[in-house]
Amino acid sequence: MNGAYADVPGYLLVFPVVYGAVAYFALAMARHLRVFAAAGPSNPFASVPRRAWGLIVYALAQAKMFKDARAGLMHFTIFWGFIALTIGTADIIMGGLIQAVVAWPLDGALWTAVTALQNVAAVGVLLALGYAAWRRLVSRPRRLALTRGALIILGLIGGVVGTELLAMALEAARSGDRAGAVVANALAVPLRGLDPRLLEVGFLTCWWAHIALVAAFICYLPGSKHLHIATSFFNIYLRKLAPRGELPAMDLEAESQTFGVRTIADLGWKDLLDGFTCTECGRCTEACPANATGKSLDPRAMIMGIRHLAVDAERGLNLIPNSPLVRDAYGLDDRLAPAALAVPIVDAAIPYDAVWDCVTCGACVEACPVLIEHVDKIVGLRRNLVLEETRFPPELNGAFRNMEQVGNPWGSPRADRMDWTKDLPFPVPTAAELARAGTLDSLDVLYWVGCAASFDERNRKVARAVATCLSAAGVRFAVLGQEESCTGDPARRMGNEYVFQVLAAGNIETLKRYGMEKRTIITACPHCFNTIGNEYGQLGGTFEIVHHSVYLQGLLAAGRLPIAADGDGPKRAVTLHDSCYLARYNAIVAEPREVLRQLPVIELREMEKRERSTFCCGAGGGRMWMEESRGTRINEERTRQALATGAQAVVTECPFCMTMIRDGLSAAGDRGAGVQAIDLAEVLAASLLAPAAAAGATQTSGPRQG
């Protein structure tokens, strides 16, 4: 039976050693799962084909790893190399079964090929490990922390691979070349002169060392950050499939539950799986704009902290659980440490300030190769702080109150909602007026203006530009006017689910009243866009909403917007600042660029951080209504990146980005002087052929004061 390994003395010992390790691994994993059972429900099982496809893209092809090309290649090599090498190890622990089967056809050519592949893989893995060690010890990129765990893992993998290769080489030196073992055979050449007894001792030492290291590796895994090799497949398969911009629904009427997330018991079990999947690679923290500007938010530390809380909860549990019979008979307690389950996540896994530093930009989620969801957890923590503990930055008191009382975070009078239309040369009807006149059916689109464009003087100009473009293209549109309210996006992302649901319910009712489920809504605000499009469905409102960049691009493509073909003058260099809620959350990156490409007077200069990897302006997640007193300002950092392109204008596609970039430009002093922040719709409106262009879209003045 053990023909292949008959010459290895004591070969049978392999079985207890390795299978013992596997048994320990299984028991340790089962102990982890018992904490999962204490956590809340998650139900990520529907859509099997999509989930399976995700496994191919993210686990096998490791698409996200290649955002960092060199680290990606390194990881890809180790991953696939390790799998190839595992064939050999598996053969050993299966008594040579694999070899027996694979070597059977084609006179063993297949097994020879496998051996060759393993040899090459071994070299590849060793080189990649060398690179990984060099990064940790020498080049030391900011995101990588040098931990003992990381070095142990590198050492274990290197040991497993190195001993196997060396054993093969020593065996080749002793008993002649092995078919396909190109590397081992080459290594054997200089060893041939050695004493055969020495070669045999060397071979046995390496062979057993390999087995011992494999067993050690398996035992080490469950308690290490390297567990991801077991969990990431599950984590990827069980990932959130809802739009990333859709925060988890919440039942406010359920009285017995904890509102939001306070302890790990309030998380879903999938959130704990996130914790056990984190490899501490630091991509999330590296991508985090709050972290990059000196704030205490560290998404990796939060995920690690959640894992530590989960591990604390299982501490004291027997590895082999007692049966209920034994527990009852001897009065044994075999439960999770209740104290650890009661530890609030805030301050244990993430500092209180950091919870509020988050701009919910999703850069961490986007960066994570194993699809961990950070933002939903942070919002869950905020929900608990707001709804149960009423602990939040004091500035939010006013914003919450204003949203609740007058339907916008600034507390501006509803009566002012139509003020932006005053200077327009064409009328902007409200849906109510059309309904009264019985002409609602003639409507092409409803323009959802949003609070910023209704009340903020600068963004009112954007609303005028949007309306001017629509009017120039002959689109019949209306607005809700005083019947529009904040969508609730800021409230929701600040954790105030109650105010969100009140506002959302009101808006859904209004939109349904005018039959908007069967029409198209357009908006220039990515936050309104995301919330109406991705979140209102939770509350029974399914609407088709289009961002103005997409809608205007469509009008351009259809030839409905006459563009001045003024290509003579020097081109105006602009850069495009992608909005997180548009580009990252909703993958809208091509259309705004296409609009700019269509304008002969515009030259687009891209920033390094763009499209789905864009860098937040600092206003998301309700940060627009909070003071930013910790660290430096996110908007100033983003403006610095924009100015580095040498652009004369920063094109925005979100009212909050507009405000933040304008602030950033004025804070940049001389460097920002003469550089404008301008919305995509304004760029377009300014390029319209007269008389359409005369229709009110005015150029903006210099940087703001005060």
Partner: protein
């Protein structure tokens, strides 16, 4: 002939409180229109000097000295004295300045006498009875109101009437206190005046500086103008960020919400984040170099110009126009 119209003055460090002269002037004019006597009344620990000052505005002044070393007279005790004097001398109407002290005294007096109260008048005219003109709910609504009966208490906004001396010294009369009349269960343990920046929340006038102020030196202009208008100093977020002034003075979305009668905005662009903190201001004057600044839409008077030129000139002009009869 109607009953007399009384003015209740406040004395402060032995002098007539600055808001008093204007209100007294109006009482004199009102009484003349009504053909009634105008009478001033001062109750305090050192009332004579204030009473003499008041006699410059009114033909007849009563004063009463509170006994004891403690200069503090609680408003309820004042109301008790005044209520007794009113019952004895039977005036028609009592006018007080709409200051914090004047308001609480008016409330106590109204309750004691069961007289109606008209509050926060910006003017009082006579048409067979006093007609109070007031402004409620921002500056939109101008209301004229009157008493249903023959008596009433009026509080008049301070500083709305320019003080004018009557040209003749009025008569002074001391009224005696009854034993224990000024005894009050309310004790004062400490009095601190002339300290710290006036808080913006209660200020009737606020001078606010924004990024357009430009520098720490420029900020000194904001503070001097505030001093010459007796105003509190406000700031926008950029001004606070620049370190020119503390966060306690920040007005706007993430700062304070204010509702002054006059808001002077210097170098403030008027973004919505700031606007939300000051939109309750009754009147807004803005000075800015940028003609297109959003604040223009929210101002009553918008001055395009350089702060460094205009503000010093304005301070000088305000100093010139301050009438001589006014203390401080």
């Amino acid at each position: 002939m109607s009953g007399a119209i009384w003015f209740i003055g406040e004395s402060e460090d032995g002098r007539l409180q600055s808001s008093g002269a204007g209100v007294a002037t109006l009482v004199r004019q009102l009484a003349a229109a009504a053909g009634a006597d105008a009478v001033g009344l001062i109750v305090g620990s050192e009332p004579e000097r204030a009473a003499r000052e008041l006699a410059g505005y009114l033909p007849s002044v009563l004063w009463a000295r509170s006994a004891g070393a403690d200069s503090f007279v609680s408003p309820s005790a004042q109301a008790a004295v005044i209520g007794r004097l009113v019952a004895v001398r039977d005036p028609g109407y009592v006018v007080l300045p709409a200051t914090p002290a004047g308001r609480e005294l008016a409330g106590a007096l109204a309750a004691r006498l069961q007289w109606g109260v008209l509050t926060n008048a910006v003017d009082v005219s006579w048409d067979g009875r006093p007609i109070a003109h007031s402004i409620v709910f921002r500056s939109d609504l101008k209301v004229r109101s009157a008493f249903a009966g023959d008596h009433g208490v009026i509080t008049l906004q301070p500083n709305v009437v320019t003080p004018v001396l009557s040209g003749a010294a009025g008569t002074l009369e001391e009224v005696a206190m009854l034993d224990g009349e000024l005894a009050s269960p309310v004790r004062r343990t400490e009095l601190v005046t002339g300290t710290a920046a006036a808080s913006v929340e209660h200020a009737r006038v606020i001078v606010t500086g924004g990024a357009g102020v430009g520098s720490r030196e420029g900020w000194a202009l904001v503070e001097s103008l505030a001093a010459s208008l007796n105003a509190a100093v406000g700031a926008t977020r950029p001004a606070v960020d620049a370190g020119w002034v503390g966060y306690s003075q920040q007005i706007g979305q993430t700062g304070k919400t204010v509702r002054p009668d006059l808001y002077v905005a210097l170098g403030v662009s008027g973004e919505v984040q700031h606007r939300v903190g000051m939109r309750m201001a009754r009147a807004v004057v803005a000075i800015n170099t940028d003609r297109d600044a959003p604040i223009a839409r929210y101002s009553d008077l918008f001055v395009v110009g350089d702060l460094a030129v205009i503000v010093p000139l304005l301070i000088e002009r305000l100093r010139e126009t301050r009438p001589s009869g006014l203390p401080g």
